[in-house]
């Protein structure tokens, strides 16, 4: 490896370890990721068409399976680890998740209350005449 000063040795997200001997292990990691993701996806699609679980709980199950699959993708495909080289990436991810939850949850919360408190449409129409 003629790369400058072990530059490729350190691990960033998405990077496969650039160590020649570890190809087998890296492919193994990707395969495990693929299997886990396929399993979670298949479960999600199966749950929707089946009556295996109590129907009102299906949305919750779908959310849990999706979050789990995102975790699988982060760990096995983006190679997000708890190692020292990845601390900044994990912190940024945590902040990103916070913003996403605020944005998504906050929008639903506010719009739900607005809809709830709004006068029904037909009465609004009557008042305009």
């Amino acid at each position: 490896m003629t790369e400058v000063g072990g530059d490729t040795r350190e691990v960033a997200p998405g990077e496969a370890d650039a160590d020649g001997g570890s190809v087998k292990r890296d492919v193994g990691v990707a395969l495990i990721g693929l299997m886990l993701a396929a399993l979670l996806t298949a479960t999600s699609f199966y749950l929707v068409g089946s009556d295996l679980v109590w129907a009102p709980s299906i949305p919750v199950a779908l959310v849990v399976l999706a979050v789990a699959q995102m975790g699988v993708h982060l760990v096995f495909f983006l190679h997000l680890t708890s190692g020292p080289d990845n601390t900044n990436n994990v912190m940024a991810l945590a902040f990103g998740v916070l913003i996403v939850l605020l944005l998504f949850g906050g929008s639903l919360w506010i719009m739900g209350h607005l809809n709830h408190n709004m006068m029904p449409m037909d009465r609004t129409m009557q008042m305009q005449h």
């Binding site: 998405g14 990077e15 496969a16 996806t41 699609f45 929707v48 983006l78 996403v100």
Partner: protein
């Protein structure tokens, strides 16, 4: 670890404290780490943009204006095939990264070509679905629900299109310039981008297609 190091800088924040310089030999992070971090920040901002579109969709999903709703429109088999294609492409993209890591051009080209084919298959299915919906009178101007749907899915589709173009560019760059250090960093960024798109698709098929079937 010496006692002096722990009292001066217990969390290893600084790089130029005396005990630290003696203890840590690695110095500042490598360019590869910094580039990966910077691109990761961009991806997170992109994900936040998608969160806004997801919120829009979730708010407007009931606003069908008497028109067709999710239950009438979405074909879950189509979404399933799209998911398989994108997941396979994520796997072959991982293989391409590994091949680039060991500078194996043949495997890199093969894996990237497979990724490209899976990505284009995904796009073809998505386009077909969109044209079908428009032909059935369920275009983006039909209702607020459909506007939100086309915005969300179309935005993801545009990202995949950009990813396919980037993928072809990376193949050409490896062909023309080989596995130089800067090319390797670009491959790293491309891989991050492609895997992030798959993560967004997980959220998308769950909240749009599967939830549309359930509720």
């Amino acid at each position: 670890m010496t006692a002096a190091a722990t009292t001066t800088d217990p969390h290893h924040i600084g790089h130029d404290g005396q005990p630290l310089a003696a203890m840590r030999k690695d110095g500042p992070a490598s360019k590869r780490i910094v580039v990966g971090y910077g691109f990761w920040i961009f991806l997170l901002s992109d994900i936040i943009m998608f969160a806004a579109f997801f919120a829009t969709y979730a708010v407007l999903v009931g606003a069908t204006d008497g028109g067709p709703g999710p239950h009438d429109l979405f074909d879950i088999r189509n979404a399933g095939i799209e998911t398989v294609l994108l997941l396979s492409s994520s796997f072959t993209c991982s293989l391409a990264s590994i091949a680039a890591g060991v500078r194996n051009k043949l495997w890199f080209y093969l894996a990237m070509a497979a990724t490209c084919l899976f990505g284009m298959g995904f796009l073809a299915l998505e386009l077909k679905e969109s044209f079908d919906l428009v032909a059935r009178g369920a275009g983006p101007s039909r209702s607020a629900f459909l506007s939100a749907f086309f915005t969300l899915v179309g935005c993801h589709g545009l990202h995949v299109t950009a990813g396919v173009l980037w993928l072809l560019t990376m193949m050409a760059q490896v062909f023309a310039k080989g596995f130089r250090a800067d090319i390797q960093r670009r491959i790293l960024c491309f891989a991050l981008f492609w895997h992030a798109l798959d993560i967004i698709w997980v959220a998308l098929f769950t909240s749009v297609y599967l939830m549309g079937m359930v509720t």
